[in-house]
Each structure stands twice: as C-alpha cells, then as structure tokens.
Amino acid sequence: MRNTTVAFVVRRLLQLVPVVLAIAAMNFLLIKMAPGDAADILAGQMGHATLEFTQQLRREFGLDLPLIEQFLIYMGRLLTLDLGVSFLQQQPVLDLILDRLPATLVLMVTAISLAGVLGVGLGVAAARRQGSWIDNLVSVSALIIYATPAFWLGLMLIVLFSIKLDLLPSGGMMQIGAGKTSLAYALDVARHLILPAATLGLFYVAIYTRLMRAAMLEVYGLDFITAARAKGLSEGVIAWTHALRNALLPVVTLAGVQIGHLLGGSVLVETVFGWPGLGRLVFDALLQRDLNLLLGILLVSSVVVVIANLIVDLLYGLLDPRIVHK
C-alpha cells in the first residue's frame, strides 16, 4: 500500500509540469497582449520616454526578437526558476514571492483549520438537533456569513475589535519591538493573526457548516446508523464516530476544490489587514502595475494549489478505505 501511495504522489507531482508549462505559456501571451510593454513602462519610469531610448531598452530586453524566440527564452528562464525581475522593485520576482509566501501560508492554514474545526463541530451539532433553534440559528448565521464580502467583514471586524473595543491590532503582522523572546514574538504574531484568520476563515466556516450538516443528515438516513443504534451505541458515539467519518468525505473533497478560492480571498484579506503575504504583494504590484510580479505570483499560487490538492487527496485516501491509489 505504501508503494502505491508514493507512486501516486510522484505521478501527481509530475502532472504539475504540464500545468506549469501551460500557465507559463498563458503568462507569456498575456504579457504580449498587454498594451505597451516593459520597455515603455521602464522608460516612462525613468522619465526618458523618447523613441530611441525606448527602442534601445527594447533591444536590451530582447523585446524586438521574433515572438517564438522570446517564448523560448522565457521558458528557458523558467526552467532555471528565473521568473524575471520586478520592474520597479529591481529584485528577482521569485525572491520577493518566496519572501512573502510563508506569511500567506500561515494565514491560510490557520484560517482553514479554524474553518474546519468550527465548521465540522457546528455542522454536526446542527444535524443532531435538526429543526431545533440551534439548528436554525446555525443555518441562518451560515447563510448570512456566506453572503458577506470578506474584505468588508474584515473592515467591520476592525471597527469593532480594534477601534471600538481596542482589543486587537488593526493590521500588520507584528509590533515593532514587541518580540524579544521567541515566545513573545510568537504571541505577538498570534495576536495579529486573529482578525485576519477569522475574516478569511469565517466564510469557509459557513460553507463547511452547511455542507457538514447536509452530509450528516444524509448519513443519518443510511442503514448502518440504524444498525449501530441496534447495537446499543449512544447517539453521541454514533454522531462522532460512525456518522462523522462518512460525512467528512464530501467536505474534504470540497476543501480541495476551494484552495484556489482561498488564495484569492487572501489577496483581499491581506490588503485589508496589511498582512505581509502574497496577497498583499499582489496589491502592491497592482499599484505599481508591475506585470512581471503579478504573473509570477499567478504561477506560484497555481503551484501551491496543485500541491494543496495533492495533500487533500491523500487526506481523503486516509479517511476512506475504499479508495485505492492505483
């Protein structure tokens, strides 16, 4: 069984290659389709937007070569993990991205864990008390949160917790000078993490709660639940061991599908809270119209999605013994 899992992982990672190539090709197309090119932008920045200067820049950047050649050069660079240089920050794109990636991952993992635990817990609780006021409250709350724009929710939470109640920081990842010891540092980051993670996660709490509730209700209609009752098991044991594990399956599947969505959400949430991650980098790149950076982020985030999907699939395989990774 171990061998097939390893083979499965390897196969999936290999599938990354054509995806990356496709995205890279798309990136290249997008660059070329954009009005104006790198030379124009740079010349404009430098304040020397004369025709000869721009032409000279073009030659330097190789932008006057035939399209096919440019494409091959581009792909070649990609193979050496060279995503180009951010026009305006004058640093390699990949470095900038890798610098910010951990912060985003921390935010995403926290948000999804929060969403998972709360969503599953609330969903099970609501399903067990179907029709009660708890069930209705949970369902209605989930509906409302699901309809709430994440960035607006973040702002409202800032108003409440940061401005009115002054309980939590309104932005950033840490306070300057707060972390002398690594524990103090961790606590400080955690304090700053609460609101953004809650904002990003709440949307998914709503989704997982509703899905979990629906899945539990469906499982409750299956014969093996009645059989479990006939064995004398209590409702609690039935809910948390027999029903839960079966109901989790569709939820885990959905979680995988939504990783891309989560990344998109982090763009907005990180911007609202000034969280120094990839999402915030997107915003900065937008402000400066830094195309190289934007496309680099697109590429890297797609890779993250593929890897995350792989992890979710493995998790699913752990939960459901009927899946055999061939």
Partner: protein, 325 residues
C-alpha cells in the same frame, strides 16, 4: 416454556404529508424461549416495522409508537429510560439486517465493528476484544478470521458480510435475535448456508429468533410458528406445520399457492389478484376483501377480528370463522 418477548396491542403510526399511516395496527404475539417465530407478509405489511419497534428504533419523527406494550424479560421496552434500552440493544436483543453491505459502516474494519459491541456491553480490554472477535468470526464460519477481522466491508463477499453481521449480533449471547429478511440480499446458494448457520447457532446458544421475511420457503425450514400480516394487522397465526398443511385465511392460502408454483414444473403462477391497498385509502371492512376470492358481502362492511378457530390458531376472517354470509 417461558416467554421471552410479549407484544401486546402494538400500534405504530407514521406521519406523512399525505396523512397518517398505520404501519402496524394492534398487533399481539409472544415468543417463547428457544422458539423461532416468523412474521410473513408482502412489503407494506408492517413486518419490518415490528422488528424496529421491538428495539425501539422507530425514527421519531416521522414515526411514533401509538399504543401497546412490548415486554421483554418483564420490562416494557417502550417505556424504558434511554440508558436502559441501550443496555438491552445489542446485548439482550440483537438484530441483523437485510442488506449487510448497507448495514456495515464502510470506513471501519469489520473487526472493529464487531469489537464495538464487546467493548460497550462486556467491558473487555483491547486484547480480549481482539481475541474474542477472531473467535466469533471462526464461530460463524469465516475462514482466516485473523486476516478478515482487519478488512473492510467492501473487501468481503455478500455471504461473508452477512456472517459478520451475525457474529456482531451474537457477540454478547443475546436472548432474542431479530432477523429482518436475513437472506433476501444474498445469492441463492449462500442463503442456505446462512440459514443453517443461524439455526445451528440458535441451538447452541439457546436463543429465540424473530424472523421477518416474505419467503415462505425459509419459514418452512426454520420456524416453529408463523404469523401472517397484512396491511399492518395479524390475519392468521399457527404452528408452521398446521399453517402449511391447512391455511385458513384466504390470503395465507394465496401465498402458499404462489409459493408452490416454484416447486411444480410448468405450472402457472397463481398470483393473488390486485395490490396491497394504499395506506391512505384503506378499504372499509376487511382490508383484504377487495382481493379475496372468498369475500362475503359482510367482509366489505365489517373488519373481522381475530378469533381462535382452534387452540392457538387465531384467524381474522369471517369465512374462516365459519360465516356463510
């Protein structure tokens, strides 16, 4: 012979958007120690509902036990507190279900599911449980029980899954086994094996069995007494020998006629004409009257009550009771 299960006037109603369905209506019967009592009927007769009611497993909503008592070992199942009924389920009364693939949890090993009952009711340690699970699997005839215990339901064949269900049911040596259509979902060849297994284990453990089925064949082979149900009511009861030799209720007669067809080559299937009445549109009078070849005018007006036409031979039929009009 002491009575293990005594059902008195059991009524189970289901609330639906189209009205109230009386799935079981005033049913009474008793099962003695070591006896096998079969309840036969078509689908919709209420027989499966009786099985669920005996363990108080009727889903509420939409179902509800509307009346009656179910006495097991002197206690009324229907009024026991929650903890008490849970102590009975799986331990003193056990149940096996029709489709073993659906009745087993697909994400846990069969060993774990059998072990659950042992741990819950007998408080055995982990090692004791593992040993006992293997023994139980051996007892029900599963080859290589140590390996099988670690497998999942989808790894096993249908017959083997049913054996696992039986092992699960017998783990705590219950006094009463309720078997709800235990062979319906199995291949014909496997059916006989499973029936034999139930028989031998029953004798070995001194269990009583409540057998729910629509298959008269297995009734003839395994049961002592049989109860015939139609549209939620008991219409005839008696020992297997006498019912099969001398059925009195026209419905029972029809069932036996249809069953005989399987044995006679080239014979035409003598079906009972018509269909089971819709529970929302029960006929006035005897519920079987519209389909009955012997119906009297009286049958359309009045519903016949159960009457013993011979000792321990109750029949709910005016014709059987000797009426001519």
């Amino acid at each position: 012979m002491s009575v293990v299960l005594l059902v008195e006037g059991l009524s189970v109603h289901f609330r639906t958007t189209l009205g109230v369905v009386k799935a079981v209506d005033g049913l009474s019967f008793a099962i003695g120690e070591g006896e096998t009592v079969a309840i036969v009927g078509e689908s919709g007769s209420g027989k499966s509902t009786v099985a669920l009611a005996a363990l108080r497993l009727i889903p509420d909503p939409p179902g509800k036990v509307a009346g009656g008592r179910i006495l097991f070992d002197g206690q009324d199942i229907l009024t026991l507190p929650d903890a008490a009924i849970r102590a009975v389920r799986g331990r003193r009364i056990a149940m096996i279900f029709q489709d073993p693939m659906m009745a087993l949890n697909p994400v846990y090993t069969v060993g774990r599911q059998i072990g659950e009952v042992l741990r819950l009711h007998l408080g055995l340690s982990k090692r004791e449980v593992m040993a006992e699970v293997v023994e139980l699997l051996r007892l029900v005839g599963v080859p290589a029980p140590e390996d099988r215990a670690r497998q999942y339901p989808h790894n096993l064949s249908g017959g083997m899954r049913q054996r696992v269900m039986i092992a699960m049911a017998l783990a705590c040596r219950p006094k009463l086994l309720i078997a709800d259509e235990p062979t319906t979902a199995l291949d014909v060849t496997v059916q006989a094996q499973v029936l034999d297994l139930i028989q031998s284990l029953k004798d070995k453990l001194g269990m009583a069995v409540l057998l729910i089925t629509h298959d008269l064949g297995i009734v003839a082979e395994t049961a002592h007494r049989v109860i015939v149900m139609y549209a939620g009511r008991k219409v005839e009861e008696g020992s297997v020998a006498r019912i099969f030799k001398d059925p009195r209720h026209p419905y029972t007669q029809g069932l036996l006629e249809a069953a005989k067809w399987e044995e006679t080559e080239g014979a035409l299937l003598r079906e009972i004409p018509g269909v089971v009445p819709s529970p929302f549109d029960m006929p006035k009078g005897c519920s079987f009257a519209p389909r009955c070849f012997a119906a009297l005018p009286r049958c359309q007006q009045e519903a016949p009550a159960l009457q013993e036409i011979a000792p321990q031979r109750p029949v709910a039929c005016f014709v059987a009771q000797g009426m001519r009009t």
